[in-house]
Symmetry: C2
Subunit: 168 residues, 2 copies
């Protein structure tokens, strides 16, 4: 885990024990063809995904609203520890490049964040911990108000349905 | 090396072969007591230094001008590969936390950057490559105008003098 403690004023965290092995959770988080089917709560969908799976590499999705509007979001991976921990931020571009002054390359949200998915084995399942760090309280509140808990919960439900389809 | 190619409009790079082994260059870049003596071109000096040497850890210096004015600068390490590669940015805080909207916690410069020191063995010496990535051309120009090449060159000269004193 990130040894820097969470700050409840600035950060959001979501945790659940799920009944699929962490290797499969890792796979569907890190492979475009396996991420696109579950990543957005329907009826929104992901219509493009690009993953350069290394620290400093690109994580890009393009989401599409039910009305057909497109929302590209670019981020940079920071930590890539297979089957264990994936961290990325929309505050840097690939190659860890800072954004241009005033630039915001993630049109899916109005604020900067750094997100971590941490996975731990629990029996035949996985302890799934999603954490999102923000720079100020307004960003955390905005993320919460736009449905952080509901959105990440629905995406995880969709992930589980998808993984079970893959397996069987 | 960072496999993301440099952009000459946005980035600055400085390279030299030096006659000290890379383990010693690494040591004086990553230990506060060994960094403070050489890090700023004199008559400026570093009066405080804090290093939490891990990806996501704090890199903090406080520089003091000859007139006594103090300039704290906080950054976050991104890559820590012993004796080989050190990358940090002033665009994130420790724990990879984004800055607050409009915040700038590095008072030593007006812009955001990500810096890498890469070290390669060359005989009994070291190929020393310093690279700084910026988000926009204005930042690169400003960094160049404030004396990037001269400043990093003098700091490296001071580093070499210091390392040779350590050994002697």
């Amino acid at each position: 885990m990130n040894p820097t403690p969470l700050d409840p004023k600035l950060d959001l965290s979501f945790e659940r024990i799920v009944d699929v092995p962490r290797e499969l959770v890792w796979k569907v988080w890190t492979t475009p063809e396996h991420l696109m089917p579950w990543f957005c709560p329907v009826p929104w969908k992901v219509i493009e995904c690009e993953i350069d799976l290394r620290p400093g590499g690109l994580f890009r999705t393009v989401m599409q609203s039910p009305e057909g509007q497109q929302f590209p979001g670019d981020g940079c991976y920071l930590e890539v520890i297979a089957n264990e921990k994936l961290t990325w931020t929309n505050a840097l571009l690939p190659g860890y490049r800072p954004l241009a002054a005033g630039e915001h390359t993630d049109s899916t949200v109005d604020f900067k964040f750094t997100a971590t998915i941490a996975l731990e084995t629990r029996g035949t399942g996985t302890r799934y911990i999603a954490t999102v760090r923000h720079g100020d309280e307004a960003s955390r509140k905005q993320h919460e108000a736009m449905g952080f808990y509901e959105g990440w919960g629905i995406a995880l439900d969709q992930l589980l349905v998808y993984v079970k389809t893959m397996r069987g």
